[in-house]
Symmetry: none
DNA sequence: ACGGTTTGTAGTAATAGTTCGACATTCCAG
DNA sequence: CTGGAATGTCGAACTATTACTACAAACCGT
């Protein structure tokens, strides 16, 4: 009998996922966890075939979750279950060793497909992420399962500006601080946004928070 | 036979709610809507006893939703179903005429209780909101507890803008989303900054993260 | 019921920020 | 070594945002 661990903080979502799993995979044993500590506890206590993991789970929310899980159960299948806001980090989770990626706002059909596919092949990627992964693999090295820090792709000047922007300093004040024209700083800002594939300073601050250890 | 309309954009949540409703209220007819337009369409076509309404539903997301619903079905029971970020709007929606308020992260038990209670008495409030409503009614006396949530000092419109700003949306796009002049939104932004004593959106996002429990 | 305060909303004028194209430098893979 | 790509920098022409000011409607305390 298969066993699945569902780690997700919203009870209603957990309930939905659990119900669908039971519907699709019966006979199956489903265990639920509402935060990352609980997740780890369950992983320590018993083996699972599949882990459905919300990126935003309290106590988790970072790439190390993957290794923390793999440390306990090297062969478990990990399906990342992410909300809108995290979709840009999807690639990193896959590269960090997750086996699948599913978006929270996916239609019911896709959710079912993902669960079945994960149970059978151990792999599933939302179409969007799949193509993005391809692109990525084409450009960069291949098969390196390590998460890339997107901030490292920035040039020196760009990083300087990045940090100031992340503190909420205005373009104009940055230009004063660095003795540059406003337009120059603005150009860096655009290039940063483009390289990080974001579109506003809030996302930028979040990136910095996540990746500037 | 009771009939319920579930308006919520995430399929998985809709599925969970629908499943629970069927479990609790059988025999019952449940209809689902993924955005506000669809919601209105269903309301126009047939009568419902209960509407479970996600605040963040695409095409909705504002207090007028309540009147839009009441316009078609004056006696429908409206249960607001809100995510974290909106908890501070609870009061506004109740005051705007909703009959109940339930948080998305509520445990399954509470969700069930809310649905049954709504079906029976037509009223339900999450404990948190209930006490806050009391406080509100008890015209802010003294004996104020230490940690006051500064976000609560904002007016309704200000809070709406706040959340959008915290997502990194530009003043101009917010003005489009809310159908206001750019300058109006800018005025709100200034008032927010002043009330929260901050000076840029990064700090704003941080505040929201800290206080939007 | 009265008068101050807060809230929702804008307009005008001034300020800040973006786009895009440009150009010299510096890097880097073949 | 060499040519295309990445970097550092800017100006001109826009576009977006803010500062102030203003005013009606809602709210609130007494």
């Amino acid at each position: 009998m298969k066993s699945v661990l569902v780690s997700e903080d919203h009870a209603i979502v957990r309930f939905g996922i659990t119900t669908i799993i039971k519907d699709l995979l019966e006979p199956v044993k489903v265990v639920e966890a509402a935060d990352f500590d609980e997740t780890v506890r369950h992983l320590t206590e018993q083996p699972f075939d599949l882990l459905i993991l919300d990126i935003n789970i309290p106590g988790g929310n970072n790439l190390q979750m993957i290794s923390a899980v793999r440390l306990r159960q090297p062969n478990i299948r990990i399906l990342i279950f992410s909300g809108y806001d995290e979709q840009m980090f999807g690639i990193n989770y896959i590269q960090a060793g997750a086996d699948g990626y599913l978006e929270k706002h996916a239609p019911e059909e896709e959710i079912r497909r993902a669960i079945v596919t994960m149970a059978e092949n151990g792999k599933y990627l939302t179409p969007g992420i799949r193509t993005r992964l391809m692109d990525h693999a084409a450009h960069h090295g291949h098969g390196s399962r390590q998460p890339v820090n997107p901030l490292l792709g920035l040039s020196g000047r760009e990083k300087e500006v990045l940090l100031l922007l992340a503190k909420g300093i205005s373009v104009m004040n940055i230009s004063r601080a660095l003795n540059l024209q406003v337009t120059t700083v603005s150009t860096y800002k655009s290039r940063i946004f483009e390289k990080l594939n974001i579109s506003n300073v809030i996302e930028l601050a979040e990136m910095v928070r996540l990746y500037s250890n």
